[in-house]
């Protein structure tokens, strides 16, 4: 393989790869993509069946353009259906022998049976996370605070491999707002330099704790050089809140269960390591590529994944993409995640996305935590909102105030159900809010 990393130096862990010119990156992609197609179709029952049904012969794929024109795309529901029909928790995607898999993570199962996510030694997540942490300036011997979602990512496999490769000390806490006090205590006692990753429910819990105990969060978090946020759009209000506590905020997003895409210190889009994942941005309906810079659906193909390779996985994430060189010097693409396809809720004549509500609810102190759900019912004439709140005005006063800011911002009428922030968070996994709750079928 062409990509042999030179020793880490300066800002980049693998400068030969992270700063490679575009023709070099595209050369790696072509080589690895053809290898991935051959290997995947030889071992993945799901992909084999998908390509047969699409009438595509692997031999037809001789280049990247052949691949993007002919290879069938698929969505999570296709894999879930396969898993159910064949009694296979890996959905026909596993390309290793079961005993070669070290850790089996799983998706949240929010919309169905959880999907198994196999992991193994030296997988691409380790590579990408090491690059991201190094670029953040984290160096051997330093301490980081890591919150984990063990069911999904595991911890004793890829995540610990990152910690150990970089020679870091680590404070590990469950990614749950119930640990807010422990986050503050660990920050003050062990002086971590990086917090990976914080969530909106945790932000709300920290704010509440600070209010009740009189804790100075700026002082408590003084040792950190950066905090990472991921899992959903942060919004300008969230960014401002985090920047009031931490010196730097790094957004990160997932490239469709493959690797994370993380902002560099420039804060100008999340980097896609295109030696590891081939990225397309397509029209969600036609699956034809949209011009660079326009919003479309993120479609990913793994280039170095051997356990669960994906060929044209349509993530349903709506993103904007650029291949322009970043201000940091990196040449790999960057994306901005704007929301999820299907998260749009039709109200009267328009579609409302959850991210549109964040700046509006931030205008009211009781709802500035941004914890809310769009509840889809049979009544599409109004926006049904379940909103988490802190102390302040009575429900009778607050509900119409929320309705007013929503109407002023979006021009839609809404029905508001108010609940305590804690109650809303505890209705889900703790580290995120299910933003759209469908009480009728879409």
């Amino acid at each position: 393989m062409v990509t042999t990393a030179s020793p880490a130096s300066g800002r980049y862990l693998e400068p030969d790869i992270e700063l490679a010119d575009r023709p070099t990156i595209e050369g790696w992609q072509q080589e690895r993509l053809l290898e991935s197609v051959e290997r995947t179709l030889a071992r993945s029952a799901f992909h084999n069946d998908l390509w047969k049904r699409a009438g595509v012969n692997p031999g037809e794929i001789q280049s990247v353009p052949d691949f993007t024109e002919r290879a069938p795309a698929f969505v999570q529901d296709d894999v879930t259906a396969w898993a159910g029909a064949h009694g296979d928790p890996f959905g026909g995607l596993l390309c290793l022998e079961p005993h070669e898999v070290t850790f089996i993570g799983s998706t949240s199962g929010t919309t169905g049976t959880p999907m198994a996510l196999p992991q193994y030694a030296d997988n691409p997540r380790i590579v990408s996370s090491c690059r991201d942490m190094w670029e953040e300036g984290i160096r051997p011997g330093e301490t980081i605070l890591r919150t984990s979602i063990v069911s999904r990512h595991g911890i004793v496999s890829w995540s610990d491999a990152v910690i150990e490769r970089l020679g870091l000390d680590v404070v590990t806490l469950d990614n749950n707002p119930a640990n807010a006090a422990a986050v503050i205590e660990a920050s003050e006692r062990f002086a971590p330099v990086s917090y990976n990753i914080i969530s909106r429910p945790m932000m709300a819990a920290l704010e509440e704790l600070a209010r009740v105990r009189g804790t100075d969060l700026v002082s408590a978090f003084a040792s950190y050089r950066a905090v990472s946020f991921g899992g959903e759009p942060l919004g300008a209000d969230g960014q401002a809140r985090l920047e009031s506590w931490f010196s730097r905020v790094r957004r990160q997003t997932s490239l469709g269960n493959t690797i994370a895409a993380v902002e560099c210190l420039e804060g100008d889009g999340c980097h896609t390591y295109e030696d590891l994942v081939y990225v397309e941005v397509v029209d969600p309906d036609t699956r034809v590529a949209v011009p660079e810079g326009q919003v479309g659906e993120l479609v990913v193909t793994t280039l170095r994944e051997t356990a669960m390779p994906l060929l044209r996985f349509a993530t349903e994430d709506l993103v904007r993409y650029t291949s322009e060189r970043c201000g940091c010097g990196r040449t790999h693409g960057r994306i901005w995640t704007l929301g999820r396809r299907g998260d749009g809720v039709k109200v009267a004549a328009q579609t409302v996305l959850p991210a549109a509500l964040l700046p509006l609810l931030a205008q009211l102190p009781e709802t500035s935590s941004g914890l809310f759900q769009l509840v889809v019912t049979s009544d599409t004439s109004v926006l049904n909102l379940r909103v988490g709140r802190t102390d302040g005005r009575s429900d009778a006063e607050l509900a119409p105030a929320i309705a007013e800011v929503i109407y002023d911002g979006l021009g839609v009428q809404c029905e508001v159900e108010l609940v305590a922030n804690d109650a809303l968070v505890s209705s889900g996994p703790g580290y995120k809010i299910q933003r759209v709750v469908r009480e009728v079928l879409p």
Binding site: A5, S6, P7, A8, L13, E14, G87, D88, P89, P98, H99, T102, F103, I104, G105, S106, S108, G109, G112, T113, P114, A116, I126, V127, C130, W134, P140, T143, T147, S148, I149, V150, S151, G154, I155, V156, S157, I163, E164, R165, L166, G167, L168, D169, V170, V171, T172, L173, D174, N175, N176, N179, A181, A182, E185, A186, R189, F190, G428, P429
Partner: protein
């Protein structure tokens, strides 16, 4: 990748009956492939097609480490499930598709959650040996092979087949009692109050081990 370093230091959070504490685990205390874990996996799992389920959350990962290291050394796979996973009824369908041979970390909260869903641990993990926290084993049905363990951040003691107390993992810790009879665990420079009463017994166990054994006072529980 060109940057390789030795195993690093971990700082684990532990919420014992005596209150929340942090435990610093130097490299020497982390992840030694204990002979106990290797032996347990070798006897509990019928082959590499079976997997281990670690129960708990991100605060519990250091206690899983000896088994995870042993699993990797022996070629077994493992998964992890936290409370939100068990709270979803479809998780039982998920586990039904996995050949689970050993469950580590069963606690009172999860055992009750399974029961609330009208299921039993034996139904969810029909072929598994289950390692449970002190007190949680009483919530599990008799048709499950249940063993008790103690973790204070790291795993520090394990029950064997002889069920004559929990073998103290001396490579990780020293366990003693204070003047009130409370068990105190020393891990490196940290002393962890357990809030549990019991005693440490010496002598050869029925299983043949000469390791000290931790005998908890009846009724002691760590949820």
């Amino acid at each position: 990748m060109t940057t390789e370093h030795n195993r690093s230091t971990a700082i684990a959070s532990v919420s014992s009956p005596a209150g929340p504490q942090f435990v610093r685990l130097a490299a020497a205390h982390r992840g030694a492939v204990t002979s106990e874990a290797v032996e347990i996996l070798s006897s509990a799992l019928s082959g590499p097609e079976q997997i281990i389920v670690f129960v708990g959350d991100g605060n519990d990962t250091e206690q899983w480490r000896p088994f995870a290291d042993a699993a990797e050394a022996l070629g077994y796979g493992y998964t992890a499930a936290d409370r939100p996973r068990f709270a979803r009824p479809n998780l039982l369908d998920f586990f039904a598709l996995l050949p689970v041979g050993l469950v580590f970390g069963m606690n009172r909260d999860i055992a009750e959650l399974i029961a609330e869903q009208g299921a039993s641990t034996a139904e969810v993990f029909p072929a598994a040996s289950v390692y449970a926290t002190p007190g949680a084993h009483r919530l599990l049905h008799d048709d499950v092979a249940v063993f008790t363990y103690l973790a204070v951040g790291p795993l520090v003691a394990l029950e064997c087949q002889a069920r004559a107390g929990l073998h103290v993992l001396e490579g990780t810790c020293v366990i003693d009692t204070n003047e009130d009879g409370e068990l105190i665990v020393a891990v490196g420079a940290d002393l962890v109050r357990t809030g549990l009463n019991g005693q440490v017994e010496r002598g050869i166990c029925g299983c043949g081990s000469a390791a000290p054994r931790l005998v908890l006072r009846p009724g002691e529980r760590w949820d």
